[in-house]
Symmetry: C2
Subunit: 354 residues, 2 copies
């Protein structure tokens, strides 16, 4: 097991340290595990003058899996793309062709009250957002800012999806549904965008190969509404990069505790990048108050997907459930009748519970 550990910026460093601690405790004795730490994001700039230093990219390429923290600093968006800490993650996803981003939304029973939605709407939620991650407006050319025919500055980006790109993510969606409740909802905007018409056509065609999986299509605006109204009516939701960016965060917020949610970005093989859904949160960085559970659960996803070790993944999940039942909470999920603890203490408690 060769794992590249790219902790990155802000709380990414703190939460990744806890995830590594838990990983070591969970598998360290049973299986050889090589951890290669490398800087990325602002940390890459500070140490090697590049948010994605060549040595980091190489370490990621060489690894079986990547444990990722978070990247980004305040004002990030104003820095040119190649030097922007936040963009290093996009470059990494693209370089490794990690086109399938799994973002589960689920709630531990102890945390139902954290949601801004009513208990009955979200209790028992178990939803999988599958976001295409290497196409769409994120990478489409041409792109830029230039004067238009009238002499005014104009910004432009290109939404672009080819049939093979849609086919491969569709297959991932149907296969994932087979391991769950056998329902796929494909999200598009086929009533307005040609790209999304092609999306709908191709997903429909691929769906015929999975007659046992129920397929429905929703326009993105209707999808976000139903997600808020009846989130439990969904199983797997598949969509393009931009709509996925928005709807996966909406789905995460249904749970009320984004500090709890892991994600996996996979390619054609078993290799994957695993990261908490939350960002670098510079405002709370370095204070031992960030919630490490999303990073810890990301490590569990890594064991499941990249190392086919469902048993250890389930043990980690169980350990997280146990510390929550014991009443331990970081500040973001703290409430009456529970015990507030710091990042490190939470990580230690999970190790203990293992």
């Amino acid at each position: 097991m060769k794992i590249a550990v790219l902790a990155g910026d802000g709380i990414g460093r703190e939460v990744t340290a806890e995830a590594v601690k838990v990983l070591r405790a969970a598998v360290g004795r049973t299986r050889p595990m090589e951890l290669v730490e490398a800087p990325i994001g602002q940390a890459g700039v500070d140490l090697a003058g590049d948010p994605l230093p060549p040595a980091t990219l190489q370490a990621a390429r060489d690894a079986d899996a990547i444990l990722f923290g978070s990247v980004g600093i305040p004002g990030d968006e104003a820095i040119p793309y190649g030097m922007r800490p936040g963009a290093s993650l996009l470059r990494l996803r693209k370089d490794l062709d990690l086109f399938a981003n799994f973002r589960p939304a689920f709630l531990f029973p102890e945390l139902v009250a954290a949601s801004t939605l009513k208990r009955e709407v979200v209790e028992g939620l178990d939803l999988m957002i599958l976001r295409e991650l290497t196409g769409d407006l994120y990478f489409g050319e041409p792109r830029g800012i230039a004067p238009n025919a009238a002499g005014a500055m104009e910004g432009f980006n290109t939404m672009r999806y080819s049939e093979p790109e849609i086919e491969r993510i569709a297959h991932v969606a149907f296969r994932a549904a087979r391991g769950r409740r056998s329902k796929v909802c494909s999200v598009d905007k086929a009533n307005v965008l040609e790209t999304m018409q092609l999306w709908r056509t191709v997903v429909t065609r691929v769906g015929r190969e999975y007659p046992d999986v129920e397929l429905r299509h929703l326009f993105v605006d209707a999808a976000v509404m139903l997600l808020m109204k009846e989130p439990k009516s969904f199983d797997v939701m598949v969509m393009g990069n931009v709509f996925g960016d928005i709807l996966s965060d909406a789905a995460a917020m249904l749970t009320g505790s984004i500090g709890m949610l892991p994600s996996a970005s996979l390619g054609a093989g078993r290799k994957g990048l695993y990261e908490p859904v939350h960002g670098s949160a510079p405002d709370i960085a370095g204070r031992d108050i960030a919630n490490p559970l999303a990073a810890i659960l990301s490590a569990a996803m890594m064991l499941r997907h990249s190392f086919d070790d469902e048993a250890t993944a389930a043990r980690i999940h169980g350990a997280v459930g146990r510390v929550l039942r014991e009443g331990l909470r970081t500040a973001d999920i703290h409430g009456p009748g529970t015990t507030q603890v710091g990042t490190r203490t939470m990580g230690d408690a999970v190790v203990e519970a293992l």
Copy 2:
């Protein structure tokens, strides 16, 4: 007052009839009012072989304001653009240059329970989504489906915004905020898209002309999360066409009763198009069960914006509040202890309350 009445398809016809009834009752006696009815959507196809018949377009151009119902039939997205009922509305917005789409999200106190969000999160909600309506991926060229260099079919659309387009919607946002709580949140994806970098730059620059208005920027994924977490922290939210399509429906769903929400699409002058946020709902059409209140409140927005008649707009609002207090409800908002009524009875009750 010359008003084009484009009722369109499905429940659009039923709810628009009630809105006209209320309009007549509210202003009919005090001011001359000319109503010009014209078919649009599938109704246009049926009557004139075109979802946007030339005579309808002319009626819309000639009018001071347009009262719009809804367009669209099941399977709409598979029909070629020029003959697609649902696209007639896009063509109308573009032709009349109605670039500023106001979508308020508010709750009548009687309907707080309809929301899937907790009472304390949404009670007193009063939010204005301002969506740019004539640019972005909706209208950007080039667009289409064609074979790519590798010989695979590829769909492509162009996100495009010029400085003048961003400037004018930004001015509308800041002016709207002045009449409210003086806060603007601009929503973009400046960390990934050049178009959105230009958006942020221009909105920031325009904002300097409104030092009395607080301006903040959020990425669209963060915005949808905060919208679900603390919707009352927002006043005016301004964004492009695509993000606005998604976030305005998310904001509408915060209220739990999309059958209550009106909208206005304005251009440079006073002329506007007013429509309920809900669609044509073919499944419940023709059964006298649709909620006409969104259409009735759209007529109130029309009086306010196109005819500068705040007093009558407020009277209509008050009348809607009154029938809700009396316990009358259409099926979509019906609950224990209230009286279920049909579309026409609800319209009559509002007239009565006036």
